[in-house]
Amino acid sequence: MDFSFSEEQRMAAESVRQVLNDHCQPAALRNSLAGNGGQDEARWRALLDTGLAGMLLPESAGGLALTEVDFVLIAEACGYYALPEPLVEHAGIAAPLLAAAGAEPTLMERVATGEALLAIGHPINPLVADADRATHLLLHAQDEIHLLPASAVQLKRQESIDPFRRLFSVSWTPNTSSRIAEANTTPALWNATLDRGALFTAAQCLGLAQRAGDLAVAYAKERKQFGKPIGSYQAVKHLLANVQVKIEFARPVVYAAAAEIGNADAMSRARVSHAKLAAAEAADQAVRSALQVHGAMGYSWEVDLHFYLKRVLALTYAWGHPAFHRARVAARVFEQPLGPDHTFAREHSHA
């Protein structure tokens, strides 16, 4: 039993944080919004140069064969900086699915470097994120998974209140050569993908929550009213302390979900869902409290907070509505053994 990250895991996340710190500050976000619809090629290139795209892929596919525990801190950092580019969706969610379904080695190698970029149309999400820059799309048709080149699909942009989110409805025609998973293997693949999607969305929400909290704390130290920084007033202090409490008790759930996701049982699915619920709730409380602390300034386009607020709004319902995740937790609570000796246990199988 050791519930902590290794030094290597911490350092890997720190190096990604460094790249994001250099390339993904609010000023950079605003620049990319003005120039290229929110995308920044230099930023994307810098992230791919760290070898992240193939992190979760097996070595045989040109990857680093790392695990969700290795990636979760990175996804959290992507949330903290509200990264517009689809690093989490490609490296954390879509690439492992393609590897598990099986694809040509030449394509996998290009996926591992990020040269080939994947977008994913999971049945739980009505739209496909970042489909316009993907070279390949993983899509669902009835009980099958299909892989299509970008040239074989038609996209229609569905604008989001989050200016960096790029959502599309996709028109396409399934054919036997595009099918990469059949009805018998599809459910397991989609379930594993849903868990990764929910887990890394939870991690991003955790990062977003901390960012909103940090922005509010910084503002509360600076902004003066009645001759004192507003952060010296207890009403403001307690608002921000409550945000930190929410974050502190969502964090270990997200990390435990990363450690247990591979179990793929009722217990690990409940953990992932709990993580998504707890992190999204913390993020919601954080952005709304941060808005309150910023006062009217927080309601202006000029202050950066709204970028994070809108991402939280989007991610709260992505990769499973809270009702879906609550139902998965309830299934664990009402159908599996309870008590602390079952906290880290595997699913109880009925003999």
């Binding site: 039993m1 050791d2 519930f3 902590s4 990250f5 290794s6 895991q9 525990v69 909290g213 704390v217 509360a220 130290k221 004192k228 920084p229 952060g231 010296s232 207890q234 403001v236 202090k237 307690h238 921000l240 302390a241 409550n242 930190q244 409490v245 502190e248 008790f249 969502a250 964090r251 270990p252 759930v253 990390y255 435990a256 990363a258 450690a259 247990e260 709990h274 619920l277 707890a278 609550r326 937790v329 309830a330 609570v333 009402f334 309870l338 008590g339 602390p340 000796d341 906290t343 880290f344």
Partner: protein, 386 residues
């Protein structure tokens, strides 16, 4: 990161489970807060525990422990709650003073006090609060004036849990009468049967004598019973409070077992409760799990050489709030019968829910009011100005 128990940890759990199954009394002991008889029954249980060398498993063997780590401590607590073993009557000693002695005590003090604490021979109360020093603990007025090799203690302490029947107390006193606030305070241990000590029970909202006032009138304590340097009392108390809020006082297992009972209660009434109840039960489970995971992470960090900091204050807020929500959910399931107490014939299903709810209501107040915890989080974790 490895969220599985080692074979050693599993066999430790197994051994403990077997011992508890053989030794835990069949019937609940009478309350240790209501009568001397109940208190002594709990002391006898502490002696039974110590007989199995289970008094305080994380302490070194020389002090009555087993030298185990904090993960094993969590396993101990999980099994202890699973077995529904008696509440630890010496928790103020074992969980608060014990770790403080371990860190700040002299070798002589450790040898003198820890083994007697581990076996229940000396049961402890905390004597910090005063009528005018509650949340503002640094306003303590009780004095400890040095006279040769002794301190002369005078003052009035209040809200001292277990003090009605306990043997010893650890108190915060002003050892420099000209000092103010956090300076000039010292932590001094004194027996509650010392000449000049008067203990007056305070009746709680549940009607039990759960705590007491302690009046000190020229009580003499040897200098050797001062814990830490003279004048260092405040920082030592804050370290004690850190143990209290951070890890020791409220085991996650306590809430996890309460949730297990809550789910059973819900099952019996699922057909008649309002539809939102299932969500409240699920929420209670999630919060208890979150707390458990957080404590496992803290234990892992401490084992790796980390320390408990101001984030301990987030724990105290979290468990006290989840405890109220959990018990309130139970009362809402019991509905119109929730108010019943023995000997009401229909009180049976109320079980301990009403007591637990009333006790939970104290959670945001004791061990440092939650408003103070929020100030600590804001100022020391987040760096907001005072």
């Amino acid at each position: 990161m490895d969220l599985t128990y080692t074979p050693e940890q599993q066999s430790f759990r197994h051994e403990l489970r077997g011992w508890l199954e053989r030794h835990v009394p069949d019937h609940p002991l009478p309350s240790f807060d209501a009568t001397r008889e109940g208190f002594e029954a709990h002391r006898a249980w502490e002696r039974t525990l110590a007989g199995g060398n289970w008094g305080m498993v994380t302490w070194p063997r020389e002090f009555g422990g087993r030298g185990l780590d904090l993960i094993q401590w969590l396993i101990f607590e999980e099994e202890y709650y699973r077995a529904a073993a008696p509440v630890r009557v010496n928790q103020n000693g074992l969980f608060l003073l014990g770790p403080t002695l371990m860190e700040f005590g002299t070798p002589q003090q450790k040898a003198r006090f820890l083994p007697a604490m581990a076996c229940g021979d000396e049961i402890w109360a905390q004597a910090w609060s005063e009528p005018q020093a509650g949340s503002d603990l640094a306003a303590v007025r009780a004095t400890a004036i040095r006279e040769g090799s002794e301190y002369v203690l005078n003052g009035h302490k209040i809200w001292s849990s277990r003090a009605v029947f306990a043997d010893w107390a650890f108190g915060l006193f002003r050892s420099d009468p000209n000092s103010e606030r956090h300076k000039g305070l010292s932590l001094i241990l004194f027996p509650l049967n010392a000449p000049g000590v008067t203990v007056k029970p305070t009746v709680r909202i549940d009607g039990k004598k759960g705590f007491a006032e302690i009046f000190l009138d020229n009580v003499r304590a040897p200098v050797a019973h001062r814990l830490g340097e003279e004048g260092a009392g405040w920082s030592i108390c804050m370290a004690t409070a850190g143990f209290e809020r951070g890890l020791m006082l409220r085991s996650p297992a306590r809430y996890q077992h309460a949730v297990t009972r809550l789910v059973e209660l819900y099952r019996r009434h699922a057909h008649e409760v309002e539809p939102t109840t299932a969500a409240a039960v699920t929420r209670a489970w999630m919060d208890a799990e979150s707390y458990a995971l957080s404590i496992y992470a803290t234990a892992s960090r401490l084992i790796a050489g980390g320390v408990i900091g101001p984030e301990a204050s987030t724990n105290k807020i979290f468990w006290s709030e989840l405890d109220i929500a959990l018990n309130q959910t139970a009362l809402s399931i019991l509905g119109a019968r929730a108010e019943l107490v023995p000997p009401a014939s229909e009180a049976q299903e109320v079980d301990s829910w009403l007591d637990d709810y009333l006790f939970a209501l104290a959670g945001p107040i004791y061990a440092g009011a939650n408003e103070i915890q929020r100030n600590i989080i804001a100022e020391r974790m987040l760096g907001l100005p005072r």
